[in-house]
C-alpha cells in the first residue's frame, strides 16, 4: 500500500521493484488525493482528501478488528495489546486525559500501564479485559466505521472496502504487506501520528519484522536516511541520541545519562554511545574528569527546527545563516516570509551547485531592491554527488560507498572539504584564546589530515570507532565503552569498518544470500542487519510463521538463532528464555507499541489540517490540539469564506526539489517547463477556467500565477453532502534557471507537526480564479 507517496514519479527506481512484485502476483494499492503516475500502475486506487490519513487508517484498524483479520498470536505477545492501561486514562471529544489548554500540551501521568507490587506490567493475553490496550484501541476506533471515515476522507466506498479487504488480508500469517510513505504523509500538522498510524496497522496485521512487511519511508533525497542518522536535525546527536537541553535534567553528563537512559531494552547501553561520541568530538580533551567534554556541547531550550529558525530570523534574532544545498526561498514554507527573513541577516553563505533563488534573494529578479539589502551574501560553489566520494545511506539503511566519477569544475568543492576548511580555519582563528566561547572550539578534536583536503578514510574510521589507547578499530558497537577507552562518531554505524582494509560499505557482492537478502552488498546498520526486529518473523517457538516467509529461526541443536539475516536479537537467547518472545529490543517493554505516546496522545486521532474546508466530524477539536500556533506578522490563517479550496504541493519526476539542479539542466527543463496547477474538470467549470488558462491562486500568505491543468485525475470530494474541491501544484519553480515559474510556497503556511515541526505543505486552503 502506497499512501502519501508517489514512487513512480518521485522514487522511480524503487518503482521498478514494485512492478516486478506485481508481476509476481503482488497487488499495489495507491492512496492519494490525486490520481498519479503511481496510481496509473496500481491495482487499486483510493482517493483521500489531503490531511485525512488518520481517518483512513483508523477505519482500517476498525475494519481489521471487526472482521477478525488481525494476526492474533502476533498481537497478543509481540505488541503491548495485552497491557492494562492506567484506570484513569480516558478519551473524550478529541482529547485524551491530561490536556492543558493553556500550554497546548498533555500531562501524561495516566498514559501508563498498570503494574504489580514488583513493578511488572499487568497483562491479559486473552485481550478481553476492558483496560487492555487492545480493548481501548478497539473502542477508540469503533468511531471510525467505514461510513464515518469516508464522510471525512471523501473516498469512494467501494474502493475503500476493496482496499480494506486486500490489505487486511495480509493479517494472515501466510501473507505480508508493506506500507510505503513519503512527504505526503509527514508534511502535516499530524505528520508524526500519520506515520505512527501506519506502524500500528502493521503491528495489528503482524507485518513488522517480517519479509515483505514493515513501513518504508521513501526519503526525499538519496541520503536523507544518512543525514538523519548523522543528526542533520536540531534535536538529535549522531545515532539518535537526544540533544542535551538547557535544563536541570541535562545539567551534567551524569544527569543526562540518568535521565535519558531507559531501565530496560537495548538503550540501556546509551552511556557507552554518548561517551564514545564525546571522545570522537573531543579526543584527548575528553576525560573522565571533565565529563568527557559534555559541558562543551551547546545547550538551549527552544525549538530549533526550520520554521522556528526562520521566525527567529524574521524577528532579527539570528545574524548569520549557512544554507548548504538548501533553497528556502523556493522550498521553505511561507517562502515569501522566509525570503524577507533573509534580509534581516548580516550574512548568508549559500553553498550550492548554482546560484539559487536563496543566494539571489536580494536581487531585482527576486522582487527586492538591492540597495535596501544589507545582508552580505557569499556563494560557495559545491561539488555534485558524482564529483566527490563518500557514502550515501538508503532507506533500507544500506550505507553504500560511492567513488568520484569526474572532477569538479572551477573552484567547486565537496561539502566535506568546505566543512574541513572552515573547521581548520576557525580553530586557527581561536588558537591561544582562553575565553569561554573559544574553549569548545579549541577542545574540538579535528584530526582528518593536513591541508584543505581531508582524508575521508580517517573520517570513516572515526565513525566506526576505535580504541582510544591503541587506535585499533572496534569490531562494532558492542565493544564501545563508557569509560573513555573507545571513541565512535556514530554508534549505529559502528561495525561498517571493523578492521583495517575492510570498509564494508564498499562491498558489491551481488549474490542473493537467501530470501532476497544480499548480505555481502554494502553494509546495513545496525551490524549489517537487513530487517529490523526480525525476531518477529518467527513464532513463539522461534520458527518462521509461514513457509516462504523465513528470515531467522531458532536452531535447537546449536542453541542459537540461524537464518538469512543477522538476528536482531541476542543470538543465544532461546524463545523459552526470559524475554525470548520480546522482539522489539530497542523498546523498554520489548514489544511493539499499539499504545505509545507522541505529544498528541497514545492513539492517533483525526484532526483536520490547520486550514480545513470543513469542521472536524470526529470531535470539536478542529486541529491538532498540541501544535504550536505561530502568531505575529505574515502568519495569517485562511478560512473557507475566502479560501474554500484544499491545496497540496508535490514533485514531478522531471524536476528535483526546489529545481536548483533540474531547472539548470535543459533536457529536464524542457520536459516540465511551466508552473501549473492541477484541478478537476468540475472545479474548472465552476470557475470558468479552461485548460491552459493562466490562473491566479491565492492563500492567506500570498498569490501566484500559473497555468491551469484541467484533468480527470482530480475529482471533487463529496463530504457530508458538501462538494469540496482540491487542487495540487509542483513546488519546483522559481526565478532562476532555464525555466522559471511562480513559487508554490508563497502559498503555504508556517505551521508544523506537534512532535517534529515538519511544515504542513500538504494541506492548506486557497482560492483560484482566471488571471484575466
Amino acid at each position: 500500500m502506497i499512501i502519501g507517496a508517489n514512487p513512480a514519479e518521485n522514487h522511480p527506481i524503487s518503482f521498478k521493484w514494485l512492478l516486478q512484485a506485481q508481476e509476481n502476483g503482488g497487488k499495489i494499492i495507491s492512496v492519494d488525493p490525486r490520481f498519479t503516475r503511481t496510481s496509473s500502475k496500481a491495482d487499486m486506487y483510493g482517493a483521500l482528501r489531503s490531511g485525512t490519513d488518520i481517518a483512513f487508517i483508523g477505519g482500517l484498524f476498525n475494519y481489521v478488528i471487526e472482521n477478525n483479520l488481525y494476526h492474533k498470536e502476533y498481537v497478543a505477545k509481540y505488541t503491548n495489546a495485552s497491557f492494562l492501561v492506567h484506570p484513569d486514562f480516558d478519551f473524550e471529544d478529541g482529547l485524551f486525559t491530561g490536556y492543558d489548554e493553556a500550554k497546548r500540551s498533555y500531562d501524561r501521568a495516566t498514559w501508563v500501564f498498570q503494574r504489580d507490587a514488583e513493578g511488572k506490567i499487568l497483562k491479559d493475553e486473552t485481550l478481553t479485559n476492558e483496560r487492555t490496550v487492545f480493548q481501548l484501541m478497539k473502542k477508540h476506533y469503533s468511531r471510525y466505521d467505514v461510513d464515518s471515515v469516508i464522510a471525512v476522507t471523501g473516498t469512494d466506498k467501494e474502493s475503500y472496502l476493496k482496499i480494506a479487504q486486500t490489505f487486511g488480508a495480509t493479517g494472515h500469517p501466510d501473507k505480508t504487506g508493506t506500507i510505503m510513505y513519503a512527504m505526503g504523509t509527514t508534511q502535516h500538522t499530524v505528520g508524526s501520528q500519520n506515520v505512527r498510524s501506519y506502524a500500528m496497522l502493521q503491528l495489528l496485521l503482524g507485518n513488522v519484522g517480517r519479509p515483505g512487511g514493515g513501513i518504508n519511508a521513501l526519503r526525499g533525497e538519496s541520503n536523507v536516511q544518512g543525514s538523519t542518522d548523522f543528526a542533520l536535525l536540531s534535536h538529535i546527536l549522531p545515532g539518535y541520541l537526544g540533544v542535551p537541553t538547557a535544563s536541570a535534567k541535562h545539567a551534567t553528563l551524569k544527569d543526562y545519562i540518568e535521565n535519558e537512559t531507559p531501565k530496560s531494552g537495548y538503550w540501556v547501553n546509551k552511556p557507552k554511545f554518548i561517551v564514545s561520541l564525546l571522545k570522537a568530538f573531543y579526543g584527548p580533551n575528553a576525560t573522565p574528569e571533565n565529563e568527557f567534554g559534555y559541558h562543551y556541547l551547546s545547550k538551549g531550550n527552544k525549538n530549533y527546527s526550520h520554521i522556528s529558525m526562520f521566525e527567529a530570523m524574521y524577528n532579527n534574532e539570528i545574524k548569520g545563516l549557512f544554507a548548504f544545498g538548501q533553497n528556502p526561498v523556493v522550498g521553505g514554507p511561507n517562502a515569501g516570509k522566509e525570503q524577507a527573513a533573509l534580509a534581516n541577516l548580516d550574512w548568508l553563505v549559500a553553498v550550492d551547485l548554482w546560484e539559487t533563488e536563496t543566494a539571489a534573494f536580494w536581487t531585482k529578479e527576486a522582487g527586492m531592491n538591492p540597495a535596501d539589502i544589507k545582508t552580505e551574501v557569499f556563494l560557495l560553489p559545491a561539488a555534485a554527488s558524482f564529483e566527490k566520494e563518500g557514502t550515501v545511506s538508503n532507506s533500507g539503511r544500506w550505507m553504500q560507498y560511492r567513488w568520484k566519477a569526474i572532477d569538479s569544475k572551477g573552484e567547486a568543492k565537496a561539502d566535506l572539504e568546505i566543512i574541513h576548511s572552515l573547521a581548520t580555519r576557525i580553530k586557527k582563528l581561536y588558537a591561544g584564546d582562553t575565553s569561554a566561547k573559544a574553549l569548545p572550539i579549541n577542545a574540538l578534536y579535528w584530526n582528518f589530515g593536513h591541508g584543505d583536503h581531508p582524508d575521508i578514510d580517517l573520517v570513516a574510521r572515526e565513525i566506526n570507532g576505535y580504541d582510544t589507547v591503541t587506535g585499533k578499530l572496534v569490531a562494532n558497537f558492542t565493544k564501545l565503552m563508557d569509560d573513555g577507552s573507545t571513541a565512535s562518531g556514530n554508534w549505529i554505524y559502528s561495525g561498517f569498518y571493523p578492521e583495517d582494509g575492510k570498509n564494508l560499505s564498499k562491498r558489491r557482492d551481488n549474490k542473493d544470500t537467501g530470501m532476497g537478502n544480499y548480505l555481502n552488498w554494502s553494509f546495513s546498520w545496525p551490524v549489517n542487519r537487513r530487517i529490523l526486529y526480525n525476531r518477529a518473523s518467527a513464532n513463539y517457538n522461534g520458527q518462521p510463521w509461514a513457509k516462504g516467509k523465513e528470515v531467522i529461526w531458532w536452531d535447537d541443536l546449536k542453541q542459537e538463532w540461524a537464518g538469512y539475516d543477522v538476528p536482531d536479537f541476542l543470538k543465544t537467547k532461546a524463545p523459552s528464555a526470559a524475554g525470548g518472545m520480546d522482539p522489539f529490543i530497542m523498546l523498554a517493554d520489548g514489544v511493539g507499541s499499539l499504545f505509545g505516546a507522541l505529544n498528541e496522545g497514545p492513539f492517533p486521532e483525526h484532526y483536520e489540517p490547520y486550514e480545513s474546508p470543513i469542521p472536524n466530524a470526529f470531535s470539536s477539536q478542529e486541529f491538532n490540539p498540541t501544535i504550536k500556533v505561530w502568531t505575529g506578522k505574515r502568519n495569517d490563517k485562511g478560512g473557507i469564506d475566502k479560501y474554500p479550496i484544499v491545496a497540496t504541493t508535490y514533485r514531478v519526476t522531471e524536476h528535483w526539489q526546489s529545481g536548483a539542479q533540474s531547472r539548470n539542466q535543459e533536457w529536464l527543463s524542457e520536459l516540465v517547463s511551466d508552473m501549473f496547477v492541477e484541478m478537476s474538470e468540475e472545479l474548472a467549470k465552476e470557475k470558468g477556467i479552461k485548460n491552459k488558462d493562466k490562473i491566479i491562486v491565492t492563500s492567506a500568505r500570498g498569490s501566484i500565477e500559473a497555468y491551469a491543468m484541467v484533468t480527470k485525475r482530480f475529482k471533487p470530494y463529496t463530504i457530508r453532502d458538501k462538494q469540496i474541491h482540491q487542487v495540487g501544484m509542483p513546488w519546483h519553480f522559481g526565478f532562476k534557471g532555464f525555466v522559471t515559474g511562480a513559487i508554490a510556497n508563497h502559498l503555504t503556511p508556517h505551521i508544523g507537526d506537534a512532535n517534529t515541526m515538519i511544515p504542513e505543505f500538504k494541506a492548506f486552503l486557497c482560492d483560484v480564479r482566471r488571471a484575466d
Binding site: F15, R37, T653, K692, Y707, A708
Partner: protein, 277 residues
C-alpha cells in the same frame, strides 16, 4: 540480424528517462514548447526531439479511468514511405531493421516529412560553416550507431521498468505475444501494434487500448503513390530520362505526395533547388 524495439506500454510509468537519454546520446538541443495543458512536453516528435512520451487520459467503456503513456518515436517500417519517396536515396534500411537518414545525402526537400505514415520525421534547420542555413531531415535512428557497437538503443538502456526492450526480432515478437495474454485481464483491448500495411515495423508496441486511443492509425498503409514513386517512377526517371525530365514525369505523383498537408503552391518550395538559392 534484424532487431526490434519492443515497447510494452503497460510497463511504462511515464518517467521520460527515454527522452533525456535520447537527447543525451544524440546530442540534441532542448526545445521548449508552449504549455500543452497536460504532462506532455512536446506535441509530437520533431527533428530535434526524436521521441516524445504521450500522456492520454482515457475513460474505458466500463467507466474505468486510465492514464496511458506511449513512447512515440520512429516505427522503422519495413515498407517505409520515407525511404520510398526520398529523391536522393538519402534514406535507407540497415541490416538491423532500422531506417536511417544519411545527412550528407539529404537535401532537405521534405518529401519524407510529408509522407511519413506516422508523422514522425521533421526537418531540422542547421547552419553550414559559412553561417548559411540549410535543412536536413532527422528522426530516431534506433541508435544504429550503438547497435553497430553491440549496444542497445539509449532509450532501452535507461528504461528502468523494461517497458522498452530491444532484441532479436523473433524473440521480441514472442515476448510481446506472451505478455499480451498476461495483460488482457486488466486491459481487455490490449493489442500488439505491428501493422502489416507498412510491412511490419521495427518499433513494435504492446498497447493497452486501441491504437486510435494513442493517436496511432488503426490500419496504416504505405501509400500507393509512395510505392509507385520509389518502385516505378524514380528508377525509371533516373535510369531513362535524366533528373531534369524526371521532375516533369513525377509531377502528378509529387502532387499526390504533398497532398497531405501542404497546398500546391508550396510544391515550388523546398527541395534541392530551393536549398541552393
Amino acid at each position: 540480424m534484424e532487431y526490434i524495439k519492443y515497447i510494452d506500454v503497460t510497463k511504462c510509468d511515464g518517467c521520460r528517462a527515454c527522452m533525456v537519454a535520447c537527447k543525451n546520446w544524440n546530442d540534441l538541443p532542448a526545445e521548449f514548447e508552449e504549455f500543452h495543458g497536460s504532462y506532455q512536453s512536446h506535441k509530437k516528435t520533431t527533428a530535434n526531439t526524436w521521441n516524445v512520451l504521450t500522456f492520454t487520459e482515457h475513460v474505458t467503456a466500463d467507466n474505468q479511468f486510465e492514464w496511458l503513456y506511449r513512447h512515440s518515436s520512429c516505427l522503422h517500417c519495413t515498407d517505409a514511405a520515407c525511404e520510398k519517396v526520398c529523391p536522393e536515396n538519402a534514406i535507407s534500411y540497415t541490416e538491423y531493421g532500422s531506417v536511417v537518414i544519411n545527412a550528407d545525402q539529404c537535401v532537405g526537400c521534405g518529401y519524407c516529412v510529408q509522407n511519413c505514415t506516422f508523422d514522425i520525421i521533421e526537418l531540422a534547420t542547421k547552419k553550414d560553416e559559412n553561417g548559411k542555413e540549410y535543412k536536413v531531415a532527422q528522426k530516431c535512428t534506433l541508435c544504429t550507431d550503438r547497435i553497430a557497437e553491440g549496444l542497445q538503443p539509449a532509450c532501452a538502456t535507461v528504461c528502468h521498468t523494461d517497458a522498452i526492450m530491444f532484441g532479436e526480432k523473433d524473440k521480441m515478437l514472442k515476448l510481446a505475444s506472451e505478455r499480451l495474454n498476461q495483460v488482457k485481464e486488466r486491459y481487455p483491448n490490449a493489442n500488439i501494434y505491428n501493422p502489416p500495411g507498412v510491412g511490419g515495423t521495427h518499433t513494435v508496441y504492446l498497447l493497452a487500448e486501441r491504437p486510435s486511443v494513442y493517436d496511432l492509425p488503426e490500419n496504416p498503409e504505405t501509400s500507393y503513390t509512395a510505392k509507385l514513386w520509389k518502385d516505378v517512377a524514380q528508377p525509371a526517371g533516373k535510369l531513362l530520362l535524366g533528373a531534369s525530365v524526371m521532375g516533369v514525369v513525377g509531377a502528378y505523383l509529387s502532387n499526390r505526395l504533398f497532398n497531405k498537408e501542404v497546398d500546391e503552391s508550396s510544391l515550388n518550395e523546398g527541395g534541392k533547388d530551393d536549398e541552393q538559392k
